[in-house]
C-alpha cells in the first residue's frame, strides 16, 4: 500500500526503509523546510538589539554542543560531567593558535572554517582519550573520568602562562568575501555561520542515527551484553561516542571563541558543564529535537533569571549578587523537576503535540 505521504493520519510503514526516513511524512519535510527558510530570512525583516542577537547566537553554539552531549549522554547513556571542558578544548585550540602565531594571523582571520574543523578534531582526540576508561567500565565510573578531565582541564588552563592563566586570550576579527566582518554585522554574520553549522550538524546526527554506527550507540545503551552478542563491541562503541561528542563540542568551542572574539576560562567551568547537562535533560535525553529545545529553554530561563536579579537588586543590599545565587538554583531546580516529573523532556511535549496534530480530528 502506498500511503498518502501528505495526509497520513498514522504510521503505516511497511518496510524498514520507510521507517528510517528522515521525515516521516511530506508534511513534516515541508514544515521543516519552511521553518529553516524562516530562520534564514527573518534577519532581513526585523533587527534585534545586539544583546538579544548574542543570546540567539549563544543558543546556537549551545545547540551544537548539546548535539554532541546528547549523543554521548542521551543516545549512548554515558553521563559526561565534563562537556564544558570539551567545549573548552575547542575554544582553546583556536586560542593556542592565536597565541602562537598572533591573533591577527591569516590562518585565524581567513582560515576560520578550517580552524573550526581543526578544533573539532582536537575535541575528538581529547574525547577519545577521556573515553578510554569506557573500554573497561560502566557509566558510574565514567562520571568520574569526565569529572576528573574537567578538573585537569581547569587546572591546566588556570596554571599555565601559555593560556594566560585563564584570562581572556583575544581572537581576531574574521574575513568574509566582502572583507572584514566589522563590529556592526559581527553577531549577524555569526548567526548565519552558526545556523549553517547547526543545520549541517543536525542533519549529520539525524543521518548518523539511521546508520549502523549510530544505532549501535542506542543498542549499547539499552543492553550492552545483547549488543555484544550481536557483534558490536560495547567498549569501542562507548569510546567512539565520546569521540563524537568531543567533535561537536570542539566545533562549538571554536565558534564560541570566534563569537566572543576571545577565550576565557569562565565559560568552561564545572558550572557550565552542569548547565549543559541541564539543557540536555530539559530538552530530552535521547531525542534529537531535544538538542534544539533544551539550549533555547535554558538560555531563555537564564535571561529571565538575570532580568529578575537586576530588578531585585534595587531592593537588596549591594553586596549581594542575586544572579550568582539564582542561576545555579534555577538550573538545579529545572534538572530535578524535569527528572522527577518529565524525564523525557520538552521533546516529549513536542512528540505529544505532533501526534495530536497528526491524528486530528481523531482521538485515542
Amino acid at each position: 500500500m502506498s500511503a498518502n505521504r501528505w495526509l497520513a493520519t498514522g504510521n503505516y510503514f511497511t518496510t524498514y526503509q520507510e521507517e528510517q526516513r528522515i521525515f516521516a511524512t511530506s508534511l513534516d519535510r515541508l514544515f521543516c523546510a519552511c521553518f529553516l527558510a524562516m530562520l534564514f530570512l527573518w534577519p532581513f525583516f526585523y533587527e534585534f538589539d545586539s544583546k538579544y542577537m548574542l543570546v540567539i547566537d549563544n543558543i546556537l553554539v549551545a545547540v551544537i554542543a548539546i548535539l554532541g552531549l546528547n549523543l554521548v549522554t542521551g543516545f549512548a547513556g554515558l553521563i559526561s560531567v565534563g562537556h564544558a571542558a570539551f567545549v573548552g578544548v575547542g575554544a582553546y585550540t583556536v586560542a593556542c593558535v592565536a597565541r602562537a602565531i598572533g591573533d591577527q594571523h591569516v590562518v585565524i582571520t581567513h582560515g576560520w572554517p578550517l580552524m573550526i574543523l581543526f578544533s573539532g578534531f582536537m575535541g575528538t582526540i581529547f574525547g577519545l582519550i577521556v573515553g578510554l576508561p569506557a573500554l573497561r567500565l560502566k557509566h558510574l565510573y565514567l562520571v568520574m573520568a569526565t569529572l576528573s578531565f574537567q578538573m585537569i582541564f581547569e587546572w591546566t588552563i588556570g596554571f599555565m602562562d601559555f593560556f594566560n592563566q585563564g584570562q581572556t586570550i583575544y581572537v581576531g576579527r574574521v574575513y568574509w568575501f566582502t572583507g572584514e566582518v566589522g563590529r556592526k554585522e559581527h553577531y549577524l554574520f555569526w548567526y548565519y555561520a552558526l545556523l549553517v553549522v547547526v543545520v549541517v550538524c543536525g542533519f549529520a546526527v539525524r543521518n548518523l542515527l539511521r546508520t549502523r554506527h549510530g544505532r549501535c550507540l542506542v543498542a549499547v545503551r539499552d543492553n550492552d551484553r545483547a549488543a555484544d552478542a550481536m557483534g558490536m563491541h560495547p567498549g569501542f562503541t562507548k569510546v567512539y561516542a565520546f569521540g563524537l561528542a568531543g567533535f561537536f563540542a570542539g566545533i562549538a568551542g571554536a565558534m564560541h571563541a570566534y563569537l566572543y572574539r576571545g577565550v576565557g576560562m569562565e565559560s568552561f567551568t564545572l558550572h557550565e558543564s552542569i548547565q549543559y547537562l541541564a539543557m540536555n535533560i530539559v530538552g530530552g535525553l535521547g531525542a534529537l529535537t531535544g538538542s534544539f529545545f533544551g539550549p533555547a529553554a535554558i538560555k531563555i530561563l537564564d535571561l529571565q533569571v538575570e532580568r529578575l536579579a537586576e530588578w531585585a537588586a534595587a531592593f537588596l543590599p549591594s553586596t549581594m549578587n542575586l544572579a550568582t545565587a539564582l542561576r545555579p538554583l534555577s538550573f538545579g531546580l529545572v534538572i530535578v523537576l524535569f527528572l522527577m516529573f518529565e524525564p523525557r523532556g520538552i521533546a516529549n511535549w513536542w512528540r505529544i503535540l505532533r501526534s495530536y496534530v497528526k491524528l486530528w480530528p481523531f482521538r485515542y
Binding site: 553521563i79 567500565l137 565510573y141 568520574m144 573520568a145 576528573s148 552542569i274 541541564a278 538554583l329 527528572l339
Partner: protein
C-alpha cells in the same frame, strides 16, 4: 629530614579529613549504589550550620558541633525522602543526574546566604601556638581535628559491625531482595544511609572549617576530591576510604612539598589526584579494597 616528617604530619591531617569526607560518600554508594555528587555541598552546609550556631547563636563550639551533625542528619534524610525516594527503580543515570541537580540547588541556596560570598573563620578556642617537636609542628586545631576524625571513624565502624541498624545497612548493600525478605525496610535504610552520610559530612565540614576557615569554594571542593579518594580505596569499602584518604593526603602534601617550584610546576597538589583517578580507572578501577564486580562492559 624534619621537612619530610612535617609533610607526613600535614599529609595525615589532610588525609584524615579526606577519609571523613569520603566516608559519607561511600556510605551512600554502598547502600543505594548512588554516586552523590552533592556531597561537597552537604559538607559545606554542615560547616556553615556549625558556624551559625557557634557565632550567631552563641552555643559552645563542641555542643554546636554535635547539634549541627544532628541537623544535617535530618536535612540529608529529608533530601533523600523528597528527591530520591521517588526515583527508586528509575535508571541509575537519572538518579545521578538528580544529585547533580541537588548540587546546583544547594550551591544556589548557599550563595543566597552571606557564606556564599564572604569568608568566615571560627573563633579560636584552642591555644594558638603550635606544638613543635623535633622541628615538626602541628597546631592544636589540626590535632583535635585528627582526633575527632579518628574517633568518628571508630564509632562508624563499630556502628556497622555491631549495631542492628548498621547490620541491616550492610545487608541491604549485599542483597536488597534477600534483606527485604527478612524484614529490613530498604527505603528506610536508604534514608538512614543518607542521614548518616549527612552526619559525617557535617563533622568533616566542621573540622575543615576549623582548620582552613570557612570558604565555600574550598569546602565544596572536598566533595570533588572525594572521587579520587573513593576510587583509590574502592567505591564500596569503608576501610578503603580511610586508607585511601590518608594516602591521598600524603600524595598531595608530597607533591606540593617536592614537585612545586621544580621544573616550572606549581599547584600540582590540586591536579595530581585527578590524574591518579584517570590512571586508576584505566588499570585498577576497583581500587585497593573494593569488591570486584563480575559484570563488565
Amino acid at each position: 629530614m624534619s621537612y619530610f616528617f612535617q609533610l607526613v604530619v600535614s599529609g595525615i591531617v589532610v588525609g584524615s579529613i579526606y577519609a571523613l569526607s569520603a566516608l559519607g560518600f561511600v556510605l551512600i554508594y554502598k547502600s543505594s549504589r548512588v554516586l552523590n555528587l552533592a556531597h561537597g555541598q552537604i559538607i559545606a552546609t554542615g560547616a556553615f550550620i556549625t558556624y551559625g550556631l557557634t557565632v550567631w547563636v552563641g552555643i559552645p563550639i563542641f555542643i554546636s558541633f554535635v547539634l549541627s551533625m544532628l541537623i544535617t542528619f535530618f536535612l540529608a534524610m529529608s533530601v533523600e525522602r523528597i528527591f530520591l525516594r521517588r526515583l527508586i527503580g528509575e535508571p541509575i543515570i537519572s538518579v545521578i543526574m538528580v544529585t547533580i541537580g541537588l548540587m546546583s540547588i544547594i550551591d544556589g541556596l548557599i550563595y543566597l546566604t552571606p557564606f556564599g560570598s564572604e569568608n568566615f573563620s571560627f573563633p579560636a578556642f584552642l591555644p594558638e601556638t603550635p606544638i613543635i617537636w623535633q622541628g615538626v609542628s602541628i597546631s592544636y586545631t589540626q590535632m583535635v581535628g585528627v582526633i575527632i576524625t579518628f574517633i568518628l571513624i571508630g564509632v562508624f565502624s563499630w556502628f556497622f559491625k555491631k549495631s542492628t541498624v548498621g547490620i541491616s545497612m550492610r545487608a541491604v548493600s549485599d542483597d536488597q531482595l534477600a534483606s527485604m525478605s527478612i524484614g529490613v525496610s530498604v527505603p528506610r535504610v536508604f534514608g538512614l544511609a543518607w542521614a548518616t552520610a549527612g552526619l559525617s559530612a557535617a563533622a568533616a565540614g566542621s573540622v575543615i572549617g576549623n582548620i582552613t576557615g570557612l570558604n565555600f569554594g574550598t569546602l565544596h571542593a572536598f566533595g570533588i576530591i572525594v572521587f579520587p579518594v573513593v576510587i583509590l580505596g574502592g567505591l564500596d569499602s569503608l576501610l578503603g576510604a580511610v586508607v585511601a584518604g590518608i594516602i591521598m593526603g600524603l600524595i598531595q602534601q608530597f607533591a606540593s612539598g617536592y614537585l612545586d617550584g621544580n621544573w616550572g610546576l606549581y599547584g600540582t597538589a590540586q591536579v595530581l589526584p585527578y590524574i591518579i583517578l584517570l590512571v586508576l580507572l584505566l588499570f585498577k578501577p576497583h581500587g585497593l579494597f573494593g569488591t570486584h564486580e563480575i559484570e563488565r562492559v
